[in-house]
């Protein structure tokens, strides 16, 4: 029996392993950080610094902090329309959170399996995990998610 291949659903947005992190692009001139990062997989080959006071066009790939605080949160009680690919049949609702990182960005993500809105609050601490979004013909496809930090 061979193991099911596991691969990120999108390249260059997050690292995997024990302590996964989101990847961002940081302007080499002014240090402004953007997420999602410049990613050829996402069709973006060029970098234009978003800071209007900077015309930087070169970037470094940087890792963002693993932990942040919840800016707000919700869930999806009904199956979202395509191109969302449901992971299970029948559909299983999931939670979503917007999370503020020490780098000064708020980043949207799904909430880790097994957690719902009752486990979240504005200002609560969460950390990044990588879980399976769905399975397709190439195997398990993974995505970053926010997991509540339980003290």
């Amino acid at each position: 029996m061979t193991a099911t291949p596991v691969s990120p659903v999108i390249e260059g947005w997050f690292t995997t392993g024990e302590e996964p992190r989101l990847l961002a692009s940081r302007c080499t001139r002014c240090t402004n950080v953007v997420f999602p990062p410049v990613s050829a997989d996402a069709g973006a080959a060029a970098f234009y610094c978003r800071n209007p006071a900077c015309d930087g066009d070169e970037y470094d790939a940087v890792e963002l902090s693993r932990r942040g605080t919840v800016w707000s949160y919700t869930d999806a009680q009904y199956q979202p329309p395509a191109p969302y690919v449901p992971a299970a049949d029948p559909y299983q609702p999931f939670a979503l959170a917007a999370v503020e990182l020490p780098e000064g960005l708020v980043i949207l993500g799904q909430v880790a399996d097994g957690y719902g809105v009752a486990d979240l609050a504005v200002g609560a601490e969460v950390e990044l995990v990588v879980e399976t979004l769905h399975t397709d013909e190439t195997g398990e496809r993974t995505i970053y998610r926010w997991k509540p930090v339980t003290a």
């Binding site: 069709g43 980043i107 949207l108």
Partner: protein, 394 residues
């Protein structure tokens, strides 16, 4: 040269199953009739683009002009997502102010599918509007729900408050002949409807509709010369973008800008939209008598009231509970019934907001009139940094 609104017209909102052009022509003819101006006298046509109706929708200005019969007018088509209508009005207004045209017809019309608004078909890994569905399953109501939840956790808003917005708007829209939903709702009705994205129930969230709205803009000179009765002055049109860093997550994006370099800005994007309108008009929020704001959700109406500085941040529920935002109150909001009673017809909606204020300022809003209204403001936000606010005065 000041631009004034000489006429307003709409096709009733609903699910009528017709071509968007039919709705648009209906609204255009109604606006021209209201103005008492012949189609032959229109020298500029601006169409609000619809992205769901093929090529005819992409060139909406020309589609409406041809349907009305080519008259040699100059044309333009605008697209700014939900703010399309306001951008179209701004284009017409600028041309009149520059003295380049005298009579401009602005038309927006749409047909929309049932259910969640979804991106166009195809794989687009570089399109945030596609990625948010593909990677996160992040629908429009989920964004509205993030803002709603934040009001609850920061300001103590309740589901009953959100439901009370629906109750108010449902009552406002009862007598509006253009509204699609004309039925009273109770707080219990809203709370009993299924939760779509916590904390928002189905009845907290606006539907999608077919509909069309049109306005006729003329120069103040033309209005005077042709004896246009009760022209309504366009005091300002704000279509500003965000200013870096935009630190509130905006649909359809997956992230905000970083505030690390410059700190959190003095005004959020939505606050800046209204502020730019006030500055352009040279008046302040204390001068406003009536507002039409984009209640994509009940909770979002409360955000807009604060964004337009009609009260302090975190105090919109106080206004709501006191009846201040109900017709007859201190600052009535959405006397038309708002999106709660209409459902959204994207390129027509910002024009419909302006139509309502025209009727309010003329004292013609039968069954929903804000008595003595002299200054009205609209507010709206579309995808990808498109905001709009139109300030009208008698």
């Amino acid at each position: 040269m000041t631009a004034v609104i000489a006429g307003a017209g709409m096709h009733p909102w609903g699910k009528w199953g017709k071509n968007f052009t039919e709705y648009g022509v209906h609204a255009a003819r109604a606006a021209l009739k209201d103005a008492g101006i012949a189609w032959a006298d229109v020298d500029f046509v601006v169409g609000g683009e619809t992205v769901r109706n093929g090529y005819a929708g992409y060139v909406a200005g020309s589609t409406f002009a041809q349907a009305l019969g080519w008259n040699g007018a100059r044309i333009a088509t605008s697209y700014a997502a939900c703010a399309t209508g306001a951008q179209a009005i701004d284009t017409a207004r600028a041309r009149i102010m520059a003295g380049l045209c005298e009579v401009a017809l602005v038309v927006g019309a749409d047909t929309t599918p049932k259910g969640f608004l979804a991106p166009n078909a195809g794989e687009r890994w570089n399109d945030p509007d596609w990625l948010r569905f593909r990677l996160l399953g992040m629908t429009n109501p989920a964004y509205f729900a993030l803002y709603a939840r934040r009001r609850m956790d920061l300001y103590g808003a309740t589901s009953e408050d959100f439901a009370a917005v629906k109750v108010k708007n449902a009552k406002h829209g009862l007598e509006n002949p253009y509204a699609r939903f004309r039925k009273e709702a109770t707080v219990a009705d809203v709370l009993a409807s299924p939760v779509v994205s916590d904390p928002l129930h189905l009845l907290d969230i606006c539907a999608t509709s077919d509909g069309a709205a049109a306005v006729v803009l003329v120069s103040a000179d033309y209005a005077k010369k042709h004896g246009i009765a009760a022209p309504v002055r366009i005091a300002a049109v704000s279509t500003v973008t965000p200013t870096f860093p935009n630190t509130v997550i905006d649909m359809p994006l997956l992230s905000t800008d970083s505030s690390a370099l410059t700190g959190v800005p003095e005004r959020t994007f939505k606050e800046a939209i209204g502020q730019a309108a006030y500055e352009e008009a040279g008046i302040g929020p204390e001068d406003v008598d009536v507002a039409e704001v984009y209640d994509l959700s009940t909770a979002l109406e409360l955000d807009w009231i604060e964004d337009l500085q009609l009260c302090k941040r975190g105090e919109a529920e106080v206004l709501l509970r006191a009846g201040d935002t109900t017709i007859g109150g201190r600052i009535p909001v959405n006397p038309s019934g708002g999106l709660a009673c209409f459902g959204e017809a994207v390129p027509a909606q910002a024009i419909a907001q302006v139509c309502e204020l025209v009727w309010q300022l003329r004292g013609q809003a039968t069954g929903r009139q804000v008595e003595g209204a002299r200054v009205g403001i609209t507010a709206n936000q579309g995808l990808f940094g498109h905001g709009s606010s139109v300030l009208l005065s008698t």
